[in-house]
């Protein structure tokens, strides 16, 4: 119960911080917009197959950029202060929940903008948004944890990419397959197997995060 309370407080803190420094969120939004326009102007006409891949690549890069700052935006002494107040589980969980929300918002926005400029080929809305939802959670868990690791190192921006991209590949491959199904690019009867795979990966990653994060934060 105490952890739950802490999570709520920390979530409020995250949102408040985001609200006060509006540059971070507006920067990410502009990033999405400009990427979509770059993609659109270079492709002109986007085939459903390319649409599917490009959409997830845009989401991938936007997510890395949005989450990379999770652990570096506040200086180390203030982080020490948080850690002395709250449970490490509450800290990582509040970050993951906050980042999931942020990514969900971000991917919906990317979808709307991308659909506006490049057309909307999605045929099966339920499966597509299920993929979007599960993907946001998976991305959020992985990137939040890796950003906690890379924040400890010296060149964190590069590390963030090289540490997280190989780990994210199983998730993004499953997502692309799922949404290809939703776009009717392929016929797969085993959609639930893919969703189960995604859920299982998310579950493994979140369990590892819970076990390992307490070792990570203390300096």
């Amino acid at each position: 119960m105490i952890v739950l309370k802490e999570i709520i407080y920390l979530l409020r803190k995250e949102i408040l911080l985001e609200w006060r420094q509006k540059y971070a969120i507006s920067g990410i939004l502009l990033y999405v917009l400009s990427t979509v326009f770059v993609v659109y102007t270079s492709f002109k006409k986007v085939e459903p197959n390319a649409w599917n891949t490009l959409f997830w690549i845009i989401i991938l890069f936007a997510s890395v950029n949005a989450i990379a700052k999770s652990f570096v935006q506040e200086n180390s002494s203030r982080q020490l202060y948080y850690y002395s107040l709250a449970n490490p589980t509450a800290i990582i969980l509040s970050k993951i929940i906050y980042n999931s929300g942020l990514l969900l918002f971000l991917s919906f926005l990317s979808f709307i903008v991308f659909a506006l400029v490049a057309g909307n080929p999605v045929k099966d809305n339920f499966h597509f948004f299920a993929a979007l939802f599960l993907g946001s959670i998976g991305f959020s868990i992985t990137f939040t944890f890796i950003s906690a690791i890379s924040a400890k190192a010296n060149n964190s921006a590069t590390l963030m990419a090289i540490l997280s991209f190989p780990i994210i590949i199983p998730i993004i491959l499953t997502l692309i397959k799922l949404s290809a199904n939703a776009l009717r690019l392929m016929q797969d009867t085993a959609v639930w197997k893919d969703i189960a795979t995604l859920l299982a990966i998310d579950l493994i990653l979140i369990t590892m995060t819970f076990i390992l994060f307490p070792f990570l934060w203390k300096d």
Binding site: T142, F145, I149, K152, A153, N154, N155, L159, I162, L163, F165, P166, I167, I169, P170, L173, T174, A190, K193, D194, T197, A200, I201, I204, L205, T207, M208, T209, I211, L212, F215, L216, D219
Partner: protein, 350 residues
């Protein structure tokens, strides 16, 4: 010596793997048959090319059959041996086929007392030349009896694979050894996070290093094998190949992560955390996802890897020791890497 017996054991097993794995011959088999498209009602002479066969050195006669299914087969009318690996076999193919189909495939079976029974499965096609109802006339019911068995040690003769079947002891066994080494590395990472002893971190790093090396060797041997059987060194269509490439990327990133810290304690802690996290992420990568997708690679999409005729008892006698041998040598190399690493860190402390 009493303490290091396992190193000697590892070397002995590997020498055994190399000699047995490379020297034991393949079972005799049929390499090709020409012509392979036959018509019903004709009299044909097939040129059969054998592999590792001793057609002329046999005591009994060579026998040959064309087999349609378990109930329909015909025996050869005339057999002429050219040399040990070449024979001309003549058949009188009946004028009708016992099936409804226009074209049916058939197997060639050859038997003698030196080479044992050999089968070339479904390589022959027989076309029906007359347009009447199926009729089994001329096809005899199961005349294939008293088949000989090849005695002595030999590896299975498999189409497409042929001699490359020996790569099983290198490619597959290296992968097994790699998995064992990486698991050991993760165990040491857990140990480090419990006790914070630098030794555990150094051990974990050494095991990861040798595991990655074995992974690269596994990719190289697999690549050569793929060139021989699939005709290409690398294919992006294959999920297992991509996943292993990603697994290697993860471990290369691990070394980059390590090198970005100056403080040993911090490096050890964060490397251990990443090692465990990466291994957890690796499990769906190499064990789960490849099994969900279809692929040419053995062990995928219901494609058997180690069972049936691909791994017979003779092969098992080399295969299982080879895994142990590679693992033992891997542990030995890791131990040396560990000692070097410990000395390096000792020097740095002064």
């Amino acid at each position: 010596m009493r303490k290091n017996w396992w190193k000697a054991l590892g070397v002995v097993i590997l020498i055994y793997t190399y000699t047995a794995g490379l020297l034991i011959p393949l079972k005799p088999g049929i390499l090709s048959v020409n012509p392979s498209n036959l018509n019903s009602g004709e009299e044909v002479t097939l040129t059969v090319i054998g592999y590792n066969t001793f057609f002329t050195k046999t005591e009994s006669e060579l026998r040959a059959w064309i087999k349609l299914d378990n109930e329909h087969a015909i025996s050869a009318t005339k057999i002429e041996l050219v040399n040990d690996t070449k024979a001309h076999v003549s058949f009188n193919i009946p004028s009708n086929l016992p099936t409804e189909d226009k074209v049916t495939d058939a197997s060639l079976v050859i038997d003698n007392d030196q080479d044992g029974a050999m089968v070339l499965p479904s390589k022959l096609t027989i076309k029906k030349t007359i347009d009447v109802n199926p009729n089994a006339e001329g096809w005899t019911n199961a005349p294939i009896t008293d088949l000989n068995r090849k005695t002595g040690f030999s590896f299975p003769f498999r189409g497409i694979l042929y001699e490359t079947i020996r790569n099983t002891y290198f490619h597959v066994c290296l992968w097994f050894a790699m998995i064992i080494l990486l698991i050991t590395s993760v165990v040491h990472s857990f140990k480090y996070l419990r006790n914070f002893r630098m030794e555990d971190d150094q051990k974990s790093m050494s095991f990861t290093m040798v595991g990655t090396l074995f992974g690269m060797l596994g990719i190289i041997t697999g690549s050569i094998w793929a060139k021989d059987t699939w005709g290409t060194y690398w294919t992006w269509e294959e999920v297992k190949l991509n996943m292993t490439a990603i697994a290697l990327l993860i471990y290369l990133a691990y070394f980059v992560l390590r090198s970005s810290f100056d403080d040993y304690e911090k490096r050890a802690r964060i490397a251990a955390v990443y090692n465990i996290f990466a291994f957890a992420a690796l499990i769906p990568l190499i064990f789960v996802i490849p099994r969900l997708t279809d692929s040419l690679h053995p062990g995928n999409g219901g494609n058997p890897a180690m069972g049936g005729e691909d791994l017979d008892n003779t092969m098992r006698m080399v295969f299982y020791p080879a895994i142990i041998g590679w693992t033992l040598v891997g542990v030995w190399i890791s131990q040396i890497v560990f000692r070097i690493q410990r000395l390096k860190e000792k020097i740095m402390e002064f």
